[in-house]
Subunit: 391 residues, 2 copies
């Protein structure tokens, strides 16, 4: 096991009607003016935005709002937010939405607080020195961005989807009411569940020795998400299932499931190019590459995939040898993806990848990440091969 | 499941030689002068204190020090610390030790930051409004105080042992090097393990509906601690086992294992009186009352004790009915306590409780807590009976 740091300072307020406490939570930040940042029409149509505005007004907190964040959130919207906040002298950002909105809000905050173009962070040309405080009202269980130190933004110029991680960006509070996720369409719910699973899987598949405490939390989180994702197929308004998944989503990406391990993150890197080029749902894109990645790398340390098969996927340990055990674990996960309506390759997202597109994605992914020393060392050529397997 | 808040802002720096980063971590707090608070001679004799002083000096951080904190830390030492800090104009406290030292440091911080006698907090006469920031270098895995919002102090005037909980008191950082716990005597190591188990058990045994995500983390934490406590009986210098227990200790009491549940805490209340009167090791005192508490209450919700028996204690689910299952789970936990050298009743701590002492403890416990609405409603008479069962 490796030395580690764990830092998850976000105050979580979890439960029914939790959003009614937004005014109180923002007030505790002693800010002058809030940017309420949101996505499409659902937050408006559901009345959520109005409830939040009311909660702020009741506490006499001034605010401006900016909607229109799209999935795979765009750099242009970030610039728009930075401009608005400068003009309005905003000093606190409230993200009302899922990962796209939170990530857009994080990027706005970086842009407001640092003396360089915010995209320089994502191109690894600069490091952040400061961050304007951010709170979250979560409406989609998926990204874990409500407690994480990550943000991912897509630059329309070249359709580059790039991430930046810094503990500065962990939100000061996250309001989580599972009821707010009732209205998500099944595909988006399932895609969110895959994203949650992957935040733990990307930490779980690590080449070195691991920490039992971390492994066991990770394994139980994966089981909890899969069980409850199945329940939601039949009962999208099951409060407990929504709650289990929402909380698992935060724990999956706040660092807890990676303590003492180095992590992999290859699937995320590969998906970023799919997301950048084809605007696919993030979780669906992850599901589409995971099996191919797993088959490509599992022989590096079969014992790890065997442990996954037995402890997470309930493959009987006395299967036909370790290699078969690994493959059965991978197949079981893919069967689960299918069960909840997720793809296990790119074609199942109705995308016919050309050789040229694969070449382009591998090139861009490698430019973005360089050699990845994850579960197995991954170079540009490996990326190309995994895309080919996943096409 | 209940609504909940989760707030664990402590930055954890975990691993070998982690204490060398103390200077850097304190410097980030931008303080003028530090109180280094510690216990007995072991921190001195091991050279740890010198390493910490050196780390502070290298960063040109001024400090004063105050040792002499004893197990079941005393109010008189807290007053001494408050006086010293006022005189020396201290604005940051660094606790170097285990739960006793951290709790003493927390009480000093409360005393420095609030305009009333600090004991008023513990007598529930006042609420804290402020807290001087606190960092921790942990040397004993047990109390979880390095991430928790709790502190427990013993007032020698009447030997009252009382706790106070407030999120203000969560340390800003906790440095955890498992090697620092190598030299703990087996009895203290085992007592610490019981304390860790109990912080989760007190949350686990809750009468209402529970959260699967929380249950599963709790169950795996309990299993991890038990497995590694056994390893440490034979190999006290096993790094991985020390690390598993140290991290489990923090997770057990930072709130994670109680999300969505109401908790019980009766055993802690009962132990506080034993600790106050007889100065027993906290974990040992908890082990001495747990089985009696469990037998007294399990019929309130046998399904919960049955789940514990099966998932945590590996009792076969097809035992002779639910009642037998519950009792076998309790017996298995007591067998584990014995296995690691812990008592399962008060007599095994060489204390012969008189009727008058039981009467006195029940009275004081009830005065301190009132009726406890935990796994089962507990009044003074119930406390008396549990003490009698545990004597």
């Amino acid at each position: 096991m490796l030395d580690f740091e764990f830092y998850a300072p976000t105050k979580v307020v979890f439960g029914k009607n939790a959003e009614s406490r937004v005014g109180e939570l923002v007030q505790a930040q002693k800010c002058k003016k809030v940017l309420v940042h949101y996505g499409g029409n659902s937050a408006k149509a559901s009345g959520l935005l109005d409830r939040i505005f009311r909660s702020l007004t009741e506490r006499k907190i001034a605010y401006v709002s900016l909607g229109g964040v799209v999935p795979n959130p765009r750099l242009s919207k970030v610039y728009e937010g930075i401009g608005l906040c400068r003009k309005e002298d905003v000093d606190f950002i409230l993200a009302v939405g899922g990962g796209s909105v939170i990530d857009s809000a994080k990027a706005i905050s970086y842009g407001l607080s640092n003396p360089f173009d915010v995209w320089d962070l994502f191109m690894k040309k600069q490091n952040a020195q400061a961050f304007m405080p951010l709170g979250v009202v979560l409406t989609i269980a998926a990204s874990g961005s409500e407690m994480s130190n990550s943000t991912v933004i897509t630059n329309e110029d070249g359709w580059l989807k790039r991430g930046y991680n810094d503990d500065l960006s962990r939100p000061v509070f996250a309001v989580m009411n599972p009821e707010l996720t009732y209205s998500l369409p099944p595909y988006q719910t399932a895609s969110g569940c895959v994203d949650i699973l992957m935040h733990t899987l990307e930490r779980y598949f690590t080449p070195g020795d691991t920490f039992d405490m971390t492994d066991r939390i990770a394994e139980q989180l994966l089981r909890t998400v899969m069980e409850n994702a199945r329940i939601l197929r039949a009962e999208p308004r099951n409060y407990k299932a929504r709650a289990e998944i929402m909380w698992a989503g935060s724990l999956s990406h706040n660092g807890l499931t990676g303590c003492g391990a180095s992590g992999d993150w290859v699937c995320h890197k590969l998906e970023h190019e799919l997301g950048g080029l084809f605007d696919v749902a993030h979780g669906a894109g992850l599901a589409a590459v995971w099996g191919s990645w797993a088959r490509y790398v599992y022989r590096t340390k079969p014992s790890r995939f065997a442990q996954f098969a037995v402890r997470v996927m309930d493959v009987p340990a006395d299967a036909d040898g370790e290699d078969a055990l690994c493959l059965k674990g991978i197949e079981a996960m893919e069967a689960f993806f299918h069960e909840i309506g997720m793809p296990v390759n790119v074609a199942e997202m109705s995308i016919r990848l050309t050789d040229a597109q694969i070449e382009e994605m591998a090139k861009k992914a490698y430019e973005g990440s360089g050699t990845i020393y994850g579960f197995r060392k991954i170079e540009e050529e490996d990326m190309r091969r995994i895309y080919e397997m996943a096409r």
